[in-house]
Amino acid sequence: MQNDERDDKPDASLDYGAPPEREDETLLIAGHQFGGQAAQDAAAAEPEAPMPQVPSTLPRVEPGFSPPPAGFRGLITALRVRRAAPTQFVIAVLCGLLGFFAVVQLRLQADDNNLRTARQSDLIRILDDLNDRSERLDSEVRDLEQRRSELQSGSDRSKAALSEAQDRRSVLGILAGTVPARGPGILLRIVDSQQKVDAAVLLDTLQELRDAGAEAVQINDVRVVASTDFLDAAPGSVQIDGVVVTAPYLFKVIGDPDTLDPALRIPGGVFAVLGERGATPTVETRRQVTVDATRPAADLDYARPSETN
């Protein structure tokens, strides 16, 4: 690295280098010479000798002194125990303090969090941040709660609408004859022994039943609805909604049996007419009548539901 070269200049050497004329220095250098007593004596013999002022990093040229060993050898020499001067103890104490407090600081940092070591301004900033964040989260909570209640009420409303729509669909399906129906009612059997029962008589019978509150009606295998038509066919048979139905005719009627049965028997009513034509009607009251014939739903070409009721 080019920048490192700058460090080699003498003035760049930091303030721990002592001028070479110090006594400590000579002792140190004597130590480099493997601590021989003779060398120490030599150093002590000329402590006043004028030392040349050479830059510290240049090789020394003093007589009697070898240049300071560099590299690993120098380090090993420096680590060798020398005489215990008071300053050595001070150095040891300082190094000990450094190690001690470095460990203390490391322990401190490794502690739970570093809030304890933070400055007051930093703490205030952290607190502000936390407050802001908590406010944001609070408002988010409010928004979400509002949305939840909206969704809940919306789902309640749509659930109610759905169940209402399902109810109406089944009612309308029974009325339109698109779904099977069951309930209390009567079975009316007309045995047409003289083949004189025609469409008009059957229609009268149906009207009488409707007047009496019949809700779903089936004649043999044909579901009867509002638009059902009756046509005369061959004797002993009637064409209902285009389907030829032959005697005997079986009416499956859902409604109040206690109303339907008397309605058929009123004087001059259905039974009287049928009797005149030589037919034998029989009525059975049932707690459960199943109207299982259905007809397809009519597709409307023109009529559409109106928005206003």
């Binding site: 250098i29 510290s56 300071p68 000990g96 190690g99 001690f100 304890r116």
Partner: protein
């Protein structure tokens, strides 16, 4: 040698006693430690340069720590403690790096 011994003893004491640092001291402790580390690396470099002096090391060690802590303390009083801490850490780090570079050249000749 005796310095390395002291360092180890200090580390051991810190590990054993695990003292609690008073609150007023907490902002200054890391600065003091880094300043002392700087002094230590400078001493190591001077040792390898052959110009090490016990007295200079002791004085520079104490002065380094005191000045660093004092500057941060004044900065705290002036309300720029955080910035001054950063500045001192940067300066000390640069010195440590250059010292380590010199030590590296001595030991590895590279």
């Amino acid at each position: 040698m005796i310095g390395a011994l002291g360092l180890m003893v200090g580390i051991a004491l810190g590990l054993v006693f695990d003292p609690t640092v008073p609150v007023w001291m907490q902002p200054y402790l890391p600065i003091a430690v880094v300043a002392a580390l700087d002094a230590l690396f400078g001493a190591l470099r001077a040792l390898l340069d052959g110009i090490f002096s016990d007295k200079v090391f002791v004085v520079s060690f104490i002065a380094n720590v005191l000045v660093a802590v004092l500057v941060v303390f004044i900065g705290d009083r002036l309300g720029v403690g955080g910035q001054l801490t950063t500045g001192i850490i940067v300066v000390l780090s640069i010195r440590i790096f250059s010292n380590v570079a010199a030590i590296r050249r001595h030991l590895l000749s590279a």
